[in-house]
Symmetry: C2
Subunit: 495 residues, 2 copies
């Protein structure tokens, strides 16, 4: 069977508008938000529903080509980048909110529904979908599931995995698993729990049942302005030590503030500040008033120059606009932005920030900082130009140095962006060989040919050693990608 035959079959499943194979139109599919690494897929297939997705996956299984799934492509770790070629299966045409159940507070959506659209669809019931990545205007629920995405309000509400109650999954060979039965934590082995955050290695989620959260009665947002970063960090520590539970605690440093204020996202952050701490509290009226009063006292004691308060939706939106637009605003500083995503014990926040600054200075790189401070989740943002090879090399070196430092400090590699391509080398630092082998085994149980999103999440060496150690996957042990009828070898899509 030829490539043309495969494309013809795929087109007959999804219709002419569901298949992209023109090289010009494939350019956007070459990478996600980690712009420095790219790969060209053979085609992009855009099924409309589970049945089409299952037929597509079954056909691709027969062809033996790699499959990379993709939501909106807003990921920051290279998870949707087809580094080994093959077919890209996108969820862009699976955008229906299938049902909203206000009594049991569940919604069932197709994987391609955009994060904010889901919240819009349940607002009339006084409910919302809590995880709110900065890219929530564009990113999809399916992509959030693949990466176990977070967001500022995950400090209070938890990341995606805490909000997913069921999944419909199409497996590597095109079988449909309906794991949506239970209204609470699922019966049986928690395959849903395993799938969330599996970065496309276990299958394609086509439908997602999510838990909805009651809209709080009251929300109040504060912006505290500091003459130094330490005051902002120490405020966060004290807020947590006092067992206050705001819904978000975000720090932006001076370079970020400058970029935001120079951009369309200008939020009126004071340019003379070295740091701003954005605080939000939600809940009942009385509860919010109490939490806000206590937090205000803390930030003032920690040296805040000014504390602004927004209670109305419009004022609140303005204070948040700068935070949510921060990554976009950095585009004024340099054409590309590398957004690191490490988590450190909250006790080490100040020390790690100082060391990150040093690492970037050594590599002659411009660093801005945005943190989900409440979670200890740091996003050091490094500005660069991907056309400058030497600079790209220095960015990668700094990124790896930052990750290694955080692992050594007892932190973890990723808060919310996933491992993808970016953090692959550090997986061997964060996990012992036995731990990585257990992950490889879990993957092999779902995808024995390792065709799904190859080259991501699990270091090749750990898995290769597993095979050598005599635990081949269920069939065709060790078969290279492309061993099926199609015969294409990974990374070299036939033309």
């Amino acid at each position: 069977m030829t490539t043309a035959g495969l494309l013809r079959d795929l087109r007959s499943i999804v219709g002419p508008r569901g298949l992209v194979d023109d090289p010009t139109w494939l350019v956007p599919y070459e990478s996600d938000g980690l712009a420095m690494q790219r790969g060209r897929p053979l085609c992009a297939v855009l099924p409309r529903d589970t049945a089409q997705a299952a037929a597509v996956m079954a056909r691709l299984a027969r062809a033996g080509v790699p499959v990379v799934s993709r939501g909106a492509g807003t990921g920051l770790s290279g998870g949707a980048t087809p580094v080994e070629g093959g077919a890209l299966v996108g969820t862009a045409r699976m955008r229906d909110v299938l049902s909203v159940d206000p009594v049991d507070r569940l919604a069932r959506v197709q994987a391609g529904v955009v994060n904010v659209e889901l919240t819009a669809a349940c607002a009339a019931h006084g409910l919302f979908y809590a995880p709110d990545p900065s890219s929530q205007q564009a990113c999809t629920i399916g992509g959030n599931v693949a990466e176990n995405s977070g967001g500022p309000h995950c400090f209070k509400y938890g990341a995606t995995t805490r909000h997913v109650e069921g999944l419909v999954i199409v497996t590597a060979d095109g079988e449909v698993l309906d794991l949506t039965g239970a209204p609470v934590d699922p019966d049986g082995l928690d395959l849903v729990g395993l799938f969330v955050g599996s970065e496309g290695l276990l299958g394609l989620a086509t439908e997602v049942v999510v838990r909805l959260t009651p809209l709080p009665e009251a929300v109040e947002t504060l912006l505290a302005v500091f003459p130094d970063l330490d005051g902002a960090c120490d405020s966060v520590s004290e807020i947590i030590a006092q067992r206050l539970e705001p819904s978000a605690l975000e720090i932006l440093d001076r370079l970020t503030i400058e970029a935001v204020e120079d951009s369309v996202f200008a939020a009126g952050y004071p340019r003379e500040a070295e740091a701003v701490l954005l605080i939000e509290a939600d809940g009942g009226d009385a509860e919010v008033a109490e939490v806000v009063a206590r937090i205000r006292a803390i930030v003032e004691r920690q040296g805040a120059l000014e504390v602004r308060s927004a209670r109305g939706a419009d004022e609140r939106k303005l204070l948040w606009a700068g935070r949510k637009g921060a990554f976009g605003a950095m585009g004024r500083v340099a054409p590309d932005l590398y957004v690191a995503d490490v988590v450190v014990p909250r006790t080490k926040l100040r020390e790690i920030v100082a060391r990150t600054t040093e690492i970037c200075r050594e590599q002659r790189l411009k660093l801005a900082n945005v943190f989900h401070a409440g979670d200890g989740n740091l996003h050091p943002n490094i500005c660069y130009d991907r056309r400058d090879e030497d600079e790209v090399a220095r960015v990668l070196a700094a990124g790896h140095a930052i990750m290694q430092m955080c692992v050594a400090a007892g932190g973890s590699l990723t808060g919310e962006h996933g491992v993808g391509l970016e953090k692959l080398p550090e997986m061997e630092l964060a996990f012992a060989p036995a731990d990585l082998r257990a992950m490889c085994d879990a993957r092999d149980a779902w995808d024995p040919h390792r065709r799904l999103n190859p080259g991501k999440l699990l270091p090749v060496r750990a898995c290769r050693e597993r095979r050598a150690a005599g635990a081949p996957p269920a069939s065709s042990a060790g078969a290279p990608f492309g061993s099926g009828e199609h015969g294409s070898s990974a990374g070299e899509p036939p033309r």
Copy 2:
């Protein structure tokens, strides 16, 4: 190698007090709280730490015998019952709280730590461990992990899986996996998420890193007394519809009230009531006052005859004593109690309760009801005497009829007690063959010989079909238990 040789080796690992093989002393290990099904283990092994547990598991792997792990044996679905014989590995001597980190709000404990001991260990830091099974005075954190246990306050705080951040696991062949690195949701494939609720099929958890929750500033408990069950059910629906978020919503029916009031757990519940609704709210002072006032108005409108309020710890303890002691109190009604554990959509609460009553009437069984009403999690309690074979058969028939009705109504088989032995036949109703096969594959990736807790959670037929379909586990496909050097066949421990 003989049985005597195996026992000698095990004794040399755990010491003489760590091995139980006297048939008299093995009686308590024959079942958990599902008293009607029993099995005799070859021995019970009680390691002190991860290293001993790993040596024990490696030795048992060489012997090729089944392994059942056990916490306190308070489970209600037969998860710790050694129905196929083999060795029982208990965590009773692994009771150290290893560390409490008040800043990152994490604790690291050995698996055998009792649920309330963990909360006691972190109370000085103003923190607690939120999941609170009714058996929390006895049940262990490791057992809670195996069953993904819940409890009354899981309505607000979520079940065990939402509180486990890391695990140290000993695998079927005695390898140690340390999945405790990350201070937040773990990097890599979420093996921790998969393991929680896996009922002993994937390995033995020896250490658990749990997330701690700040103790609320204020707690208030209400007891609303109703002349009928419907008023209590409707109150719960209205509280949820109004988006109020109490921390617990529990209903007890008349027979339960009578049993409690006749027992040492007497809580002063009024005997003339047909139902009581126990409500707790926690949070900031102002928040609690607001929530309680609004709930009080709802229950009064729904026909409550009386609403009692407890604010002090002692009064609160009294109101809760009846609820937490309800299962024990039923011992006055009959020698044995079957506690079902189904979850139904909250919209169908009244209908399902009525149908449950009918099913028990048809089978001439005495039924009492306790519900985690906020979650739609019902515990129909059926009183029986296990010495009466005919009655046991009718209890089983009623239990299966209740489960089947709940699955048909869009509910699930288990809220918090696990599948175990009890719900095995219904797994094939709740899941399609493909879903069950995916679970079998996930299990086979961890335990290819299927020696861990055989006969639980996954219906044998689904797994057998998987094998026939040509996807053998990694090695020794289809080998019966006891294929190792030891040569004993499951269920017939050699003497």
